[in-house]
């Protein structure tokens, strides 16, 4: 049975390498040019606890993690229990396991019998010992077996084994390949594969494999970021780690700071002195940066802050995703703060949004917060090579002042942006400050100047709204129902819309990249012709919904689907809501 789209989950404990398997499969798929999407999950143990990975691949663009799996590989049933809520089987899904751990469940395996899964036993461990002389190679046996069952990219697999272990020894590469072959052979010898869901695809150009955090880091490097300061925090640390390796190669500096306040303030200092600068964090760090974000706003110093969201409030659930830092990003700093909030929607978008953040920040001299989340930050995707020539960048406007001329740093003439000198430039010495100031930068407490400066700073938001008009819209022009969401919800929303379209429903979707200043007109244009608008978000408090309402006088059309995080949004959930919205009346 051929399928164009295949999803498999692998569960095991520490030594089983469930996540390594997932990564290798992803590399294998990307190696043969497939699109691929891999998410992972760990138990609470710091090391060696249970883990789980889910991989979806297709020749077509893969939009989400795949609600239900075609196949499930279980190294250990007791470990499976921890992830039970996160894994759903398709009816008739194939479940492959190494029988030895069955004994924990004398009354049957802990899976939904109702879905009539087909359970297949493969003696991973025995085969591994036979073929590679090492039971640890059982995951390679498994990879071989499933590639045979489901027609997964076996060429790519061997390539990725070769690449992964080349630093170790040829022998290891060899024995792992032998284990893969043993798995394949076992299946060929013992099973009929025709009735299996078998992936059908054509090979094409190799794709890159990245996670969202890497894409952010690379985006920053490309945009010209040459100073990074950050404090480790799950799930954002990979950005800092990547830049600690790459920035020094490009004349940049990376500093791991003592805390998040130091990080954002160093970034502000570096930018004041002329560097394109960035920091990364997650919710708790964003809260700690709020004071300094206000400083960057009033002193009009460009800077980029990446928030890879996790479950809140407080420490919450650090390893899981949620979309609940939105309002804190929009409103967290005291006073009337002019700043920009962008949201990344997938791994590739992490690159683009980061570039855009630098563009806006440098052009308009404002702090820009980019919201990513654990779901996109830590998942791996196969993406095509990025066409760098299409990504624009911006160099800060500098004044040209002659000796004797007076430089006014905060001069108001056209719009909110004034040319910005940096230390080292002659004749432009000025005082920057978090205190309200005159055009020349002197402290003031006059109401009239404060009003004027607020106007200057907020004027930038209007300009940005006009300057940047890109929005993501899906679906037909004559849609009746619209879905609006943000950030990582994009995948599920887009796929749900595609599913609805196939069933003849007229549904459109909108996922803005710029959250604030919100693109009024575009959203208006989108909403106007629609009968019902469904807002979808992963926040118990419905933060996006409340934000939208504060800008749009369309509440009786709006419906809200929201829930807490720690579980990624599924296509099914969104689809159900679309159906609901299609049926519901005009008035709430």
């Amino acid at each position: 049975m051929d399928v164009r789209d295949f999803t498999v989950a692998v569960v095991g404990s520490g030594g089983d390498g469930a996540v390594t398997c997932g990564e290798m499969l992803t590399h294998a798929a990307a190696g043969e040019g497939l699109y691929c999407f891999m998410s992972k999950s760990f138990g609470p143990q710091i090391r060696g606890g249970e883990s789980f990975s889910q991989i979806r691949m297709s020749e077509d663009m893969v939009l989400s993690q795949g609600d239900r799996v075609d196949a499930l590989v279980v190294f250990s049933w007791p470990d499976f229990l921890r992830f039970k809520d996160e894994i759903e089987l398709k009816p008739g899904a194939i479940v492959i396991h190494d029988e030895t751990k069955n004994k924990d469940f004398p009354d049957g395996l802990p899976i939904n019998e109702f879905l009539e899964p087909r359970i297949i036993h493969v003696p991973f461990t025995d085969l591994a010992e036979e073929a590679a002389g090492n039971s640890l190679a059982k995951n390679m046996v498994m990879l071989g077996a499933i590639s045979e069952f489901f027609n997964l990219p076996v060429e790519g697999l061997k390539q990725s084994i070769a690449k992964k272990y080349k630093k170790k020894s040829a022998k290891i590469v060899e024995s792992n390949c032998a284990a893969v072959e043993a798995g394949r052979k076992y299946v060929r010898d013992n099973h009929e594969v025709e009735s299996m869901p078998r992936l059908s695809y054509e090979k094409s150009d190799t794709k890159m494999v990245m996670n969202g955090n890497e894409a952010v880091a690379y985006g920053a490097l490309y945009a010209g970021c040459r100073f990074f300061a950050g404090y480790p925090i799950t799930p954002s640390s990979e950005i800092m780690e990547w830049l600690s390796r790459e920035l020094p190669r490009f004349g940049g500096v990376e500093v791991q700071t003592e805390d998040e306040m130091a990080a954002i303030n160093m970034v502000i200092g570096a930018s004041f002195a002329g560097a394109k600068a960035m920091t990364c964090t997650s919710g708790p760090g964003l809260s700690l940066m709020q004071e300094a974000i206000g400083l960057a706003a009033i002193a009009e110093i460009p800077c980029v802050i990446i928030d890879v969201q996790r479950v809140g409030p407080s420490t919450g659930i650090p390893t899981k995703s949620e979309q609940s830092d939105l309002l804190a990003a929009l409103h967290g700093s005291h006073g009337d703060v002019s700043k920009v909030v962008l949201a990344a929607a997938d791994v590739e978008d992490c690159f683009d949004v980061t570039c855009l953040a630098f563009y806006i920040s440098e052009k308009y001299q404002v702090p820009v917060i980019v919201l990513s989340d654990q779901f996109i930050g830590q998942r791996m995707e196969a993406v095509p090579r990025i066409d760098l020539s299409k990504r624009k960048s911006f160099e800060r406007i500098k004044p040209s002042i002659q000796e004797g001329e007076k430089y006014e740093r905060f001069k108001i003439d056209n719009g909110g942006v004034s040319p910005m000198a940096v230390p080292g430039m002659e004749h432009c010495e000025y005082l920057a400050s978090g205190i309200e100031h005159t055009e020349s930068g002197s402290p003031t407490s006059a109401h009239s100047i404060h009003e004027m400066m607020n106007k200057k700073r907020f004027h930038k938001l209007d300009d940005i709204r006009e300057d940047l008009t890109f929005v993501r819209r899906y679906g037909p022009e004559d849609a009746e129902v619209g879905v609006i969401g943000w950030g990582s919800s994009k995948g599920a929303i887009k796929e749900a819309i595609l599913r609805a379209e196939k069933l003849g429903m007229k549904v459109a979707g909108l996922v803005p990249q710029i959250i604030h200043p919100i693109p009024y007109d575009k959203i208006d244009e989108f909403m106007k012709p629609l009968r019902r608008i469904l807002v979808v978000e992963v926040s118990y408090a419905g933060q996006f919904y409340n934000y939208l309402k504060s800008y749009y006088p369309v509440p009786d059309k709006l419906m809200l689907y929201k829930r807490s995080g720690s579980k990624s949004l599924t296509v099914e959930e969104v689809f159900q809501q679309i159906c609901h919205a299609m049926q519901s009346e005009y008035v709430l």
Binding site: T26, H27, A28, A30, G31, G156, Q159, S160, K163, T206, M208, V209, M210, E214, Y218, L221, R226, F227, A229, R245, E246, P248, R249, F250, G251, V253, V255, T257, E258, D259, M261, A262, A263, N265, M266, I268, G269, A270, S271, F272, A273, G274, A275, A277, A292, L295, A299, R385, L388, P423, G424, E426, C428, E429, L431, A432, S433, G434, S442, P443
Partner: protein
């Protein structure tokens, strides 16, 4: 030797020599008459003139407080930031442009209270900049509350029954933080203060100058006189290369306030370290931005 006056690695500029007044801005200080901060401001202007660094190559960074108003009074680049964050901001400035002469300045509250978490790290990183702390043993700008250096027992707006807590000793802290130049001056002796600050500016690495800078308004006008009697100068034979003797010099219990250079050490700065890292990173040649994508090819 009590003070370190010799400059190390000063780049002599070709411009006509600048005078202290050239570093003075047009803004009139809002400080009270008799405030110790006037002396520090003047000492900074004198030290910069002695260094001969052009105004556009200097950045003065402060937090918030009476003392933190200082960047506004210098004709250099200045940044009057937020309370407690002068050191990280100054670090960012230096890292973005290592050619600059960077001065961080502020009060005892700014540096030892709200900003107290940054000081150890500026020290251990050995950021090549000069940190001048004007210690008036009080929160001046907020009108007279306890600071981390207010002597135990003192009555202030926020300690109406006398303060219980012990004061912190900034010199011991700086020593514990591996600060590579640790000195103390007094607003009542500008000449000596200039030596201390000039010494710090000339030092390669993180220099810390603790300035006893009395606040007549909230600590009383006698405080200045009192300090005059309490200050002593470190012996000429004080060994400023040895942390233990430095601690010893700081740990006096006779109520005297020793002035001078407690400790001085040459070691790689953060800039040096970043350069060394860059060299290592480039050991296999300079990659291109485009080429980075190869990393992600499976």
């Amino acid at each position: 030797m009590a003070t370190t006056a010799e400059a190390t690695e000063i780049t002599v500029t070709e411009e006509p020599k600048l005078k202290p007044v050239d570093y003075k801005s047009d803004l009139k200080p809002i400080w009270c008459p008799g405030c110790g901060d006037y002396a520090t401001l003047s000492a900074i202007h004198q030290s910069l003139a002695r260094l001969g660094v052009p105004t556009h190559m200097v950045a003065v960074i402060s937090g918030i407080g009476c003392s933190s108003r200082i960047p506004g009074y210098c004709a250099t680049y200045g940044f009057n930031t937020i309370h407690g964050r002068a050191l990280p901001i100054a670090t960012g400035v230096k890292m973005a442009n290592p050619e600059l002469t960077v001065i961080a300045a502020g009060g005892d509250g700014d540096g030892l209270s709200i900003g107290g978490g940054h000081f150890p790290h500026a020290g251990r990183r050995n950021v090549d900049m000069t940190y001048i702390m004007m210690d008036n043993n009080i929160y001046g700008l907020t009108k007279g509350q306890v600071s981390p250096t207010t002597p135990a027992g003192d009555t202030t707006k926020s300690s109406p029954y006398g303060l219980g807590d012990r004061p912190l000793d900034a010199i011991q802290l700086a020593l514990a933080y591996n600060v590579s130049y640790v000195a103390r001056g007094f607003s009542g002796n500008i000449k000596h203060l200039v030596e201390m600050i000039y010494g710090g500016l000339s030092h390669k690495g993180f220099s810390f100058i603790h300035v006893a800078s009395p606040c007549p308004t909230y600590r009383g006008i006698d405080r200045f006189k009192e300090y005059k009697e309490r200050v002593v100068y470190l012996d000429d034979d004080h060994d400023a290369t040895n942390p233990l003797t430095a601690y010893q010099a700081a740990l006096r219990d006779d109520g005297k306030v020793p002035l001078g250079v407690f400790f001085k050490q040459e070691r790689p700065t953060l800039t040096d370290n970043c350069e060394a890292i860059s060299r290592k990173a480039l050991a296999n040649g300079q990659p291109t931005i485009e080429g980075i994508m190869d990393q992600f090819i499976p």
